[in-house]
Amino acid sequence: MRICVQSEPFNIAKELQGFGAGRGDIGAVVSFSGLVRDDSGHLQMLEVEHYPGMTEKSLSSCAQEAVTRWELADVLVIHRFGRLQVGAPIMMVATAARHRNAAFEAAEFLMDYLKSRAPFWKREITAQGTQWVAAKDSDEAALARW
């Protein structure tokens, strides 16, 4: 299991290289990457603030929970903070398991949880000023199925 909270950019392909490799008991690797999306057409940067200490703890306990619920061989979570460019990767999760169902479900679980339980806050920076991104009710509701 690897949890990274970092300001530095990361390379999705590089991170996946070697993930779940070199062992015979893994039949499925699922990964999800979130990129900085520009909905308004005016986004200059996305700023991500976090709560150092609690962020790492909540991501670890979330990954730990996933390992408890599904038979996972490995879990990777990377989440960036600081100022990010449009189109840049913000975060990624990857799961490795014997079969694909566990890998898919665990990846979705991790995404749902870290969207509304990990202490990150996004702020959009445009030429007109800055605005905090509001949390969506649908993200909170997504937790109910787990």
Partner: protein
């Protein structure tokens, strides 16, 4: 009186005008803490009055606004998270 470290994030931090502070308090819960702070300065009221738009963490664990603060060292107030 208990000593508490308070930390604020995102627009809560901006409205209060600081990221952290140490205080002495008699509050038994985060809700009482908000009442106490709001009586001290109107900036706290502006940032913390609507708890439905807020989350609280006690010693870096998400908590409820009526969780007991017994033994707590750090309390954080922030908006609902927008990670991912």
């Amino acid at each position: 009186m208990a000593k508490l470290e308070l930390v604020y994030f995102a627009w809560v931090r901006e409205r209060i005008g600081r990221a952290r502070e140490s205080i002495e308090t008699q509050a038994a819960t985060p809700l009482q803490l908000i009442e106490e702070l709001s009586a001290r300065d109107e900036r706290y009221g502006a940032a913390l009055s609507d708890v439905s738009a807020l989350r609280v963490a006690i010693d870096q664990e998400l908590a409820d606004f009526d969780t007991k603060l017994t033994g707590a060292r750090e309390v954080a107030f922030f908006p609902p998270m927008t990670g991912g």
